[in-house]
Every structure is written in structure tokens, then in C-alpha cells.
């Protein structure tokens, strides 16, 4: 990113730059950045290898044999596969995300509505976002996971811990996402709404056709941010007894006294979150350049 793209392609070299500083631009700039990167990485890696406890850290956390064993698991002896557990994380975050987007938009829509009939719903929606953004997710997971089953309400009380975990994640994240949507809706200039209304569109149609398309586009990066965060928080569902990647890794660690499974679980999470983060960055960049182009 910081290679100095403009300078590389610039037809007229900047003659006012002192010669000493030209080392940092152009082809030699590339060499300089490569050397500094290699040195930095080498320094970090050597700290890892030279630390007094380096050998034991490598044995307990980066042991190839144990990393592979924890990844594939051995269910007969109670060693559950971290890889298989990760599928639980993936389906939980996908199902939850769909529910969260739908419910979050609904809550945001209610909060920005002006109809007097919807007044009690507006109060309810405000109270909901206030309460569930304020309670730690872990507590919500506990309350839903152990509270709902004890209510003895037919099918609501006989679900698996994965389902209760999903409910808790959806409840908490909907509150966050609703606020993100609301911010998006408010980011649309008032003139847009006034123009739509003056064309004869109803309040609802204005919302659907004018406000939401513009507002939602603005908040796609923060929404993806929440999605990444949700993906990681699926690990919290393990407290209800669900076997997901982090819990499977903990079981492996507590049985074999080797924490390599924890590293495997971390790598699996990274395999999803890093591409997502890069994707979010690209969306942000594209959105920014579009807006700048529109201004020009």
C-alpha cells in the first residue's frame, strides 16, 4: 500500500527531493522496504527462538504432531476434532448473521419511524438496544442457555446448546447492528428525503427506495466488522456445553497437557477473519474512491 504508487508511475520525477531521500522512492524504495521487512520479521522470529522458554513454547503450542492430532481428533477417547468443531462455529455465525441483519434492520426501522401508532414499539426497541448492548455477551449466553430450558416451554426448552448459543448471539448482536443501521439511515442527507417526499413518495416508500439503499451502503464496512466479531464470539457458546473449535482445543489441552490445539483453533479463526478483513478494507477503499470521484 505504502509503496508510493503515485511516485512510481509519475512521469516527472520530483527534482526538489534531496538525493539522499530518493533512496526511499522508486525501485530503490522497493529494495529498502524489502530489507526493512526482512529485518523486522527476523528480529521477531529470533525473539521467539531465543527466549529462555522458547523450546517449551514450541513444544506446548507449536508441536506439529499435536497440532495435527487435535485437528483430526480421536472421539473414542474423548479427544474431539478441532476441525470438526470449527464447522459448528461457521454454521452458527452464518445462521446468526442472517437473523441479525433482518432483525437489526427491523429494530432500526422502528426506532427511526415517526408514526404515533408505533410509539410503544419505539420505546420497546430503544429499551432493547439499551439493555442488550449493555450486558456482556457471556452473561446473555448463560441466561439464555440455562434460563430458557428451565422455563419448560415445550420446544423452546429442548434445544441443543448450539441453538441457545445462536439465540444469545442474535439477541446481543441485533442490538449492535440495529444501531449501525440507524446511523446509516441518519447519514442520508435530509434533502434526499425531502426530494423524495416532494415527488409524492410515501414515508415508507421513501425509506425503502431512497433512504435505505444509500444508508445501508454507508454502513457495510461496520456491518462486516460486526460480522467478524460475531464469528469470533461463537466460541463463547462453549460455556453451554457445545463442542466448537475452542472447546475441542481446550479438551485436547486438558487431556494431553499440550496446547497446540489452541493454536490450531486460532489459525482456523484467522483463516476466516483475515480474508474478511481484507475484503472489508477493499470495500472501504472502493467506496471512498467512488465518493471522491462523485465530488470531482
Amino acid at each position: 500500500m505504502s509503496l508510493g504508487h503515485d511516485e512510481l508511475s509519475s512521469p516527472t520525477p520530483n527534482l526538489f527531493t534531496p538525493p539522499r531521500r530518493r533512496f526511499f522512492t522508486g525501485r530503490r524504495g522497493l529494495a529498502a522496504s524489502t530489507i526493512s521487512s526482512v529485518l523486522l520479521v527476523a528480529a521477531l522470529v529470533s525473539v521467539f527462538f531465543w527466549a529462555p522458554g522458547s523450546a517449551s513454547v514450541r513444544y506446548y503450542f507449536f508441536n506439529g504432531h499435536d497440532m495435527w492430532q487435535s485437528f483430526i481428533g480421536h472421539p473414542q477417547t474423548g479427544l474431539l476434532s478441532v476441525g470438526k468443531g470449527f464447522f459448528t462455529n461457521i454454521w452458527m455465525c452464518l445462521v446468526c448473521e442472517v437473523l441479525i441483519l433482518i432483525l437489526g434492520l427491523g429494530v432500526a426501522w422502528i426506532r427511526v419511524s415517526r408514526s404515533p401508532v408505533l410509539y410503544p414499539f419505539r420505546v420497546l426497541a430503544t429499551a432493547y438496544t439499551d439493555v442488550f448492548r449493555g450486558i456482556p455477551l457471556l452473561l446473555v449466553v448463560f441466561m439464555v442457555g440455562f434460563g430458557l430450558p428451565s422455563m419448560q416451554l415445550g420446544f423452546l426448552t429442548t434445544q441443543s446448546p448450539d441453538v441457545y448459543g445462536c439465540m444469545a448471539l442474535t439477541i446481543t448482536y441485533t442490538a449492535y447492528v440495529a444501531e449501525v443501521f440507524r446511523a446509516g439511515i441518519y447519514s442520508v442527507p435530509n434533502g434526499q428525503i425531502l426530494a423524495a417526499r416532494s415527488l409524492g413518495l410515501t414515508h415508507a416508500t421513501t425509506m425503502r427506495r431512497v433512504t435505505l439503499p444509500q444508508g445501508v451502503r454507508t454502513v457495510i464496512p461496520p456491518l462486516l466488522n460486526d460480522f467478524i466479531s460475531l464469528q469470533k464470539d461463537t466460541a463463547l457458546v462453549s460455556v453451554l456445553g457445545a463442542i466448537e473449535a475452542a472447546r475441542a482445543a481446550q479438551i485436547y489441552a486438558s487431556t494431553t497437557f499440550n496446547g497446540s490445539g489452541l493454536v490450531v483453533a486460532s489459525l482456523l479463526f484467522l483463516a476466516i477473519t483475515i480474508p474478511l478483513t481484507r475484503f472489508t478494507d477493499r470495500l472501504l477503499d472502493r467506496d471512498r474512491s467512488r465518493r471522491l470521484a462523485a465530488l470531482a
Partner: protein
């Protein structure tokens, strides 16, 4: 909750260990060894002329009574005095020291001769400290709710069909996998309290936990909405070799004489009668097969 930290590795080490314990020590050999110990014991003690015994504070029945280790009541208090008496140490020369449970099995110097505090032998701990032979064999037991189907149907085949829950890294969880072999994946919780909560809210059928903890859980911890005990300790499984041992500083030579005394108490029936007297609530739990 002490034994929960005992893990699979410890289990295998322990079973090999106790296999030797119960077959060794002919009576004649140990009586001459005992005579030697009575004369050499003073030189090996932490405070010369005194037997310094450590335990946690508070301590609980039936291991101790009224949180007073020096009253000779409760299984572990009575056992400590019985060991002292066997080695010819008078009651007044037994001194009690305080040692928190979590500190006990860490490496390093110790301010006592031995610690008696329901500490499970594990291979892992045995690298940092020295353990005596077993003075109590811990069994695993099954705890469920009163009126649960598990209460009536617990043949080995039926036990396989239930949904179990347990705390991560416990001997109970290892027992479920290695001996019960259930058809459904057990639920694994971070704490035992979470497993109890899951049992109470009907998310699991049963918990496997060591017999002393299971007894407490069934009678005091699992309650219904009317504050009545709602738990049921269905039965205990045969011993797998998990046991409590007296804990010494790593390499403390005193362990030799204490083991001689323990074996004497085993062969003359004192240990058995102390177990019957104080631990009847555990030994009376019916034995069932996994």
C-alpha cells in the same frame, strides 16, 4: 472438588501404582521396619520431635469435624493421629499447619512433614511433590435428578444411552469416555456448577463425578424450586485406581516410614474401621457397573 484436576495421564499412572500397593508388604517385614522407623523418625521430621501435619482452612466433614483438625475427629484428622500413634509419636507432638490446597502440589520447600487434604495422586503432580501410598480410593459415581429415568434404569447397556455432562478435564469426564462409552456426545462445561445447572434445567441426564463430591452435590447442591434436595446419587462405579495420598516435599525421605505406618494400619484393620466410621456415607453408595 479437589480430584477434578486429576487427568487421564494420572489415572494410568495411579492404577499401576496402586496395583503394587495392595499386594506388597508382608506383615513380618513391616513390623521390623516399623521398629526402625520409631527410632529414626525424629531425625527426618520438619520440626524435630514434632510431626507437622498440614491441611487447608476451612476443612469439611467428614474429613474433619468443626473445622478443627486437632480434635482427632473426622477421617483425615483421625488418620493423622493413627499414623502418629503407630510411629510412637504422642498426640501432643502432632502439630497442625495451614497449607492452601492450590499451593500444596507446587514444587519447592514445604513447611510441614505431610499434607492431608483429599489430594489426588496424579502423575503430573508427582513430578513436583512426593505422594504416600493410597489412604482412600476414590471412585466415580453417577448423579442425576430424583425421578430421572437414570434412577431406575442403569444397567451397563442402559447407561450408554444417556446424555452426560461434565466439567472439562475431570476424571469423571474421562470415566464417561473410557468406561461408559455413551452413544451420544457428552456435553463439556467449563465449571462443574455449569454442569449442575444443565442437569437441573434438564439439558443432560446425568453427571459423573467422584463419590465424595457427588454425595455433596446430590444432597446439598442440586435443589428444586422449593429448596428441597433434588439430586440423587444413583451409584458408584468400581475403583479405577484413583486415590488420595499424603503429600510430601519432593524426595522427602519421611515418606518411607509414613508408608510403613500406613501399611501397618491397613494390615491391622485400623484404616478399614476409620473408613467405616467416618466415610460411611460414601462407602454405602451402591456399586453399579459401567
Amino acid at each position: 472438588m479437589r480430584t477434578f484436576r486429576l487427568l487421564l495421564a494420572g489415572l494410568f499412572g495411579a492404577s499401576a501404582f496402586t496395583g503394587v500397593t495392595f499386594t506388597s508388604g508382608p506383615a513380618g517385614a513391616s513390623s521390623s521396619a516399623l521398629a526402625t522407623c520409631r527410632t529414626t523418625i525424629n531425625a527426618e521430621e520438619y520440626a524435630k520431635g514434632k510431626l507437622t501435619v498440614a491441611t487447608d482452612n476451612p476443612v469439611y466433614t467428614p474429613w474433619f469435624v468443626n473445622n478443627k483438625p486437632s480434635n482427632g475427629k473426622g477421617f483425615e484428622s483421625a488418620l493423622a493421629y493413627a499414623i502418629a500413634a503407630t510411629l510412637g509419636i504422642s498426640k501432643s507432638n502432632v502439630v497442625w499447619a495451614y497449607e492452601p490446597f492450590d499451593n500444596s502440589y507446587t514444587p519447592g520447600p514445604k513447611k510441614f512433614d505431610f499434607d492431608i487434604n483429599e489430594i489426588s495422586y496424579t502423575a503430573q503432580r508427582a513430578k513436583a511433590v512426593t505422594f504416600s501410598e493410597s489412604y482412600y480410593n476414590v471412585t466415580q459415581s453417577i448423579v442425576t435428578l430424583q425421578g430421572s429415568v437414570v434412577a431406575k434404569k442403569h444397567s451397563p447397556a442402559q447407561l450408554k444411552t444417556y446424555l452426560y455432562g461434565d466439567q472439562i478435564g475431570t476424571t469423571g469426564l474421562a470415566y464417561i469416555y473410557n468406561h461408559i462409552h455413551p452413544t451420544q456426545q457428552p456435553r463439556v462445561y467449563s465449571t462443574l456448577d455449569a454442569a449442575v445447572l444443565a442437569l437441573q434445567t434438564g439439558q443432560i441426564n446425568a453427571i459423573v463425578v467422584d463419590t465424595p463430591d457427588g454425595q455433596y452435590m446430590a444432597t446439598s447442591e442440586v435443589e428444586n424450586a422449593k429448596k428441597k434436595a433434588d439430586g440423587l446419587q444413583v451409584g458408584q462405579f468400581p475403583s479405577t485406581g484413583e486415590h488420595y495420598g499424603l503429600l510430601f516435599k519432593k524426595g522427602n525421605p519421611l515418606v518411607g516410614c509414613i508408608n510403613v505406618a500406613l501399611n501397618t494400619l491397613k494390615s491391622n484393620g485400623t484404616l478399614a474401621s476409620l473408613t467405616t466410621k467416618w466415610l460411611n456415607i460414601y462407602t454405602s453408595v451402591p456399586v453399579i457397573k459401567p
